[in-house]
Amino acid sequence: MDWTLNLLLLTLLLATAIAVIRIRDLLAAAIVFSAYSLVMAILWTQLRAPDLALTEAAVGAGVTTVLFIITIYRTVRKED
C-alpha cells in the first residue's frame, strides 16, 4: 500500500516537473510548479522529514507561487 502511494507520487512528481519545463504559458507553469511543491511536500512526509515538508508546503507551494505570479503579471505571460 505504502509502495503504490510512493510510486503514484513519484510519477506525479516527474509529470509535473516535465510539464513545468514544457508549458509555454508562464502562469500555467507557475501553478503547475506549485502542484509540484505540494507533491514534494507529501513525499517529504513519506520520507519521515516533517520539518522539510512544512517548509516545502509553506514556501514552495505558498509564498514563491505568489511571488512568481506577481512577477509574471508585471512582465510578460508568454515565453517565446
Binding site: 520539518d51 512544512l54 517548509t55 509564498v63 511571488l67 508585471r74
Partner: protein, 251 residues
C-alpha cells in the same frame, strides 16, 4: 552531427548514473555513511548538548549554527536587494491593479479569509514556539505567517494591509532575526564557551536550564517573526504600482 554527439554524451551520463544507482547502499541500511559519522552523536547527545528534543532543531540551532546564521542573513539581503530596486510602499496609499480592478474579491472570499487568517497565524505561532519538541520552528512558522498576510492582502487590498501592518512597525522587526541570532551566539562566547552555546558553564543547573530555554525562544521567535515580515515586505514591494497611488488629500 551535433545532435549525435549530444545524444552520445547524454547516453554516457545516463549509463554512469544508472551504474551509480546500482552501487548505492540500500535505503535505510544501518551501515550507511549517513548513519555512521555524526548522526549517532546528534541522536544520542542532542538533547543534553543542544537542549532540544527535536533533533532537527538541535542541528539547525546549535550544531550547524553558522549555517543558520548565514541563511538568516541571506533572507535579509534578499529583502535589502528588493527594497533597493523597487522601493517601499506608502502606508495606506499604495495600491495594486487588483485594488483598482472592477472585479472585487467576492463576499465568500473575504469572509473565508477573515475567518481563516487568525487560525493560520495561531497555527504559525504554535509551530514557532513548539519547534523545540515537534517538527517546525522559526523558518516554517515565519513562512506561514508571511503566507497568511499575503492571503489577507490578496483579499482585502494593499491599502488595508499596509494600514494594519504599517512600515514603521515592520522595519525594526525585519532585522530582528539577524540581531537576535548574533546576540544569542555571542552570549556564549562572552561566557567563555563556543558560539551558540546555550548551556552556560559555571551556573547552577536550574539557572542554566532557564537561560537555555529563554535563548532558544528568542532565536525561534526572532527567525519566525522576522521571516514572516520579510516575506510580507518583499511581496508589498513587488505588488505595489506607482501609477495607482492614492492622493493623500483625497482619502
Amino acid at each position: 552531427m551535433r545532435k549525435a554527439i549530444m545524444l552520445l554524451a547524454l547516453a554516457g551520463i545516463g549509463v554512469m548514473l544508472i551504474y551509480a544507482v546500482g552501487e548505492m547502499p540500500p535505503m535505510g541500511d544501518s551501515g550507511n555513511p549517513d548513519k555512521t559519522h555524526v548522526a549517532p552523536r546528534y541522536l544520542e547527545h542532542g538533547e543534553e548538548e543542544a537542549g532540544a528534543s527535536n533533533v532537527v532543531t538541535a542541528v539547525i540551532l546549535n550544531y550547524r549554527g553558522y549555517d543558520t546564521m548565514g541563511e538568516v542573513a541571506v533572507i535579509f539581503c534578499a529583502l535589502c536587494a528588493v527594497v533597493a530596486v523597487l522601493g517601499r510602499e506608502k502606508t495606506g496609499l499604495s495600491r495594486t491593479h487588483m485594488d483598482v480592478s472592477r472585479v472585487k474579491a467576492s463576499v465568500v472570499v473575504r469572509t473565508t479569509v477573515r475567518f481563516l487568517v487568525p487560525v493560520i497565524i495561531f497555527f504559525a505561532i504554535y509551530i514557532i514556539l513548539h519547534g523545540e519538541e515537534t517538527p517546525g520552528g522559526g523558518f516554517q512558522g515565519g513562512a506561514i505567517i508571511g503566507a497568511s498576510i499575503i492571503l489577507f492582502t490578496l483579499a482585502f487590498g494593499l491599502p488595508e494591509s499596509t494600514r494594519k501592518i504599517p512600515l514603521k512597525s515592520r522595519v525594526p522587526l525585519e532585522s530582528f532575526a539577524v540581531i537576535a541570532f548574533l546576540a544569542a551566539g555571542f552570549t556564549g562566547i562572552l561566557f567563555g564557551a563556543n558560539f551558540l552555546t546555550y548551556i552556560m558553564p559555571g551556573l547552577s543547573e536550574h539557572a542554566a536550564e532557564t537561560i537555555r530555554q529563554v535563548m532558544m525562544m528568542v532565536i525561534e521567535i526572532g527567525i519566525g517573526f522576522a521571516g514572516g515580515i520579510i516575506f510580507t515586505s518583499i511581496m508589498f514591494a513587488m505588488i505595489r504600482e506607482d501609477k495607482y497611488e492614492l492622493q493623500p488629500d483625497s482619502s
